[in-house]
Symmetry: C2
Subunit: 458 residues, 2 copies
């Protein structure tokens, strides 16, 4: 399909954060004469949503979280940004979107040559939760962050965090550092249920040392409200009531696909928007990028939903290039991710053990605990490393880590090994850097790889 080359080429972008603005910037760089219009439902664009926990913790001033204002985006990049403007419908036949101003409710239509859907994701609450309750909090954008910030400056003394995943645990330590009595409720048998048990154990022990209460294996429900406030939830089957001043819901997110779905665009098996490897949807003039799409997993080729920031930014850039007439491919993702829980870093890449077993059986795994920097250095702590590999040939399939020094960048070593298709014998031969402040002579990766090689030769 030929991209119109006249100067009135218009790209419309739905969503004014990572993916959307990366695409917008790329389009303007490649086609300076293009009109690029970005519609964002919320009041803010271009903010660092991963930075919100650090703002709530008091580490970062709010102003720092706004990366680029609409004015700067217009003046420096020639992008027209419309906050508080919701795209309520896509008329694919006409090649136009229906936009509504969120305050005046005025509606208007904008024609596009190319459209990008970058609508992101939103928190998923349990059925019994009333999102509007004044002491029920979520965290996804600056607005939800502001509500929490206000509550934290008020009379919040005890908070229950529902969900023991990345966000729940990250925020549990933020609450703890703010002096709150903090209890984490995870209905699975352990926190971080997607990780190997050794990682969950490491993290739970750390949280408990920091004074966070962790309750697992019980399902919260049967809320008791008093007026607009949630007072307690009941844990089943045990029956205990958990009372708190505030309830932080970190019970997962769902992709915002309704607009695409109503427009008749194809969704994938994960429920997120289906795209090809140029990030084009089932409509050739419409692209999608970021937390609302599913992508190909690099290990399995299967479609998966992996809503992480770097991927969203990379996808936005590629989608923008393709909207501008280039042909770039998105290589897919490994699901590499990391979180900092207080001072503890947790990270993973590739397949989990159950995913690997489903696809590459028979599968082996090892977990080791070892020093994260030289043993004689102050601040030396234990790192936990999990390697998951194919039994037949030792090919690495996944890796997980928890520790205090260099965990995120160590997982990147293993993400690189995964992309290159290395096996654990090759891992054991890696020539890794060493100096006492950053690693022991035998890096935890090498210790784990040696353990894996031993297991292979049994």
């Amino acid at each position: 399909m030929q991209v119109p080359s006249h100067s009135s080429f218009t790209a419309v972008i739905i969503g004014g954060n990572g993916a959307g603005l990366s695409a917008a910037s790329k389009i303007k760089r490649l086609r300076p004469s293009a009109r690029v219009l970005v519609f964002e439902k919320g009041p803010h664009v271009s903010y660092a949503n991963c930075g919100i926990p650090f703002w709530l913790a008091g580490d970062v001033p709010q102003n720092n979280l706004i990366l680029l204002s609409p004015e700067t985006l217009q003046q420096k990049r020639g992008i027209d940004v419309f906050p508080r403007h919701e795209v309520i419908a896509i008329d694919r036949r006409a090649g136009a979107v229906q936009v509504r101003h969120c305050e005046t409710l005025r509606e208007f239509e904008v024609a596009y040559d190319r459209l990008l859907i970058a609508t992101g994701a939103r928190p998923r609450l349990p059925d019994w939760a009333i999102a509007e309750a004044e002491n029920v909090f979520t965290l996804r954008d600056l607005q939800s962050g502001q509500a929490l910030k206000q509550a934290l400056s008020g009379s919040l003394n005890r908070i229950a965090v529902l969900g023991g995943g990345y966000l729940g645990l990250e925020m549990a330590m933020v609450f703890r550092r703010r002096g709150l009595e903090t209890v984490v409720l995870e209905q699975a048998a352990r926190i971080l249920p997607g990780f190997h048990e050794a990682i969950s154990t490491h993290v739970q022990a750390y949280l408990e040392r920091q004074g966070v209460t962790v309750i697992t294996g019980l399902q919260p429900g049967e809320p008791r409200y008093q007026g607009p406030r949630l007072q307690s939830v009941r844990l089943s089957p045990e029956g205990r009531n958990i009372q708190a001043d505030g309830f932080f819901m970190a019970t997962g997110i769902v992709p915002n696909v309704e607009l695409a779905q109503t427009a008749g665009l194809q969704l994938g098996s994960s429920g997120a928007i289906a795209v090809d490897d140029t990030l084009r949807t089932s409509d050739p003039r419409i692209f999608a990028a970021g937390d609302c799409i599913e992508v190909r997993h690099r290990m399995t080729g299967e479609p998966v939903w992996l809503p992480f920031g770097p991927a969203a930014n990379k996808q936005g850039r590629i989608a923008g290039a393709n909207m501008a007439g280039e042909r770039q491919r998105y290589a897919g993702a490994l699901g590499t991710s990391a979180v900092t829980i207080g001072e503890l870093e947790v990270a993973r890449t590739g397949l989990t053990l159950p995913e690997a077993q489903r696809r590459f059986n028979p599968v082996e795994h090892v977990f080791v605990q070892s020093q994260d920097i030289a043993g004689y250095m102050p601040g030396e702590k234990q790192a936990t490393v999990v390697l998951i590999f194919r039994k037949r040939d030792g090919r690495l399939l996944g890796a997980e880590m928890a520790g205090f020094h260099g965990i995120g960048k160590r997982i990147d070593v293993l993400a690189t090994a995964l992309q290159a298709g290395l096996d654990v014998r090759q891992l054991a031969e890696l020539d890794l850097s060493y100096t006492p402040t950053i690693a022991p002579v035998w890096d935890p990766i090498l210790i784990a790889a040696n353990a894996a090689v031993k297991k292979l030769s049994v």
Copy 2:
């Protein structure tokens, strides 16, 4: 060659640190009945020599640097360790070494079935320097560290560091932190002359901000002594005299090969002991490992001398396995290394730009400066990244970095990419971890890789 299997199998090891003790431990693990004798010329064995700067800085107590005492090595591992025992000759025909006790000067002979030479390296001083001068210091072992420690508790006010490589710069910041007026003299045009200029500039700017004076491009010589003390050196051709209370010589190291050479063992083109990939010397009963040997560079296949700790430990383990009758191969090294200079991490892997040009011309390179963690986080600083790659196909050939967060483990990502033979397009597709405390959304590696891809397509 058949390894004798009777219980009187004797392995003799010359050198009681990383390589030697790794080998000794491996032999005892594989052949518990073997006699393993370790002769060490110095008074200490099994100490963390890379930790000495941190002891001198006051970060680490001296006791922590001793990893295993001779008693522990005997009791826990069954290894017989003899400190202050110098091996003065190898009688290859008889299969025996001549040993001299360094205090009593008593000499005796010990027969071996297998011998390991792990004699390490020693500082190389300029011709004009008198090592015995009481205010001329080196740093290689605990003894030289003790001399420095004593001087630092005395009346040292101003120190000149000769040599702007890893050790010189690491120690310059130790001296600075101890409150000394510190001047670094590097006779090459810039400090870290083996690195790309962008790295040298980054590091020099940091040192100067910390109050270290850096003088480059002038050759120190014409020492002036007063009694046993060096008072000044003269910089030529400029003629300026540099006076100091102490002179720290970080002017390089040389492998300890004299014993091997006298015994008629083959040396390599680098001047270090030549070994095959099982770490066997030109005598089939004699192995060598650690800083005294040359190894195969994984990028070029050429023999190189890369005296770094992790390689020495790995080589020791492999040599030990082979001495015990296994057949393990050492895969060679990439020259991955790192140093911490004050709070600044510097690291490299693979070929330098001149090495790459000599071997893989035409060669391209890029250097970028970018945030090392999310830009809004406290403590965010600039990282410098250099990528060196082949013009024809973008294959990565080498990488260098300087920065304050995660540099050492980021270089490991590139060491992994080098081992796997990735090109810069593949680097740009890496799925790396992200969370604001450990990386920006676009990791410096990806920013550099994107710049490299752009350069390729020009």
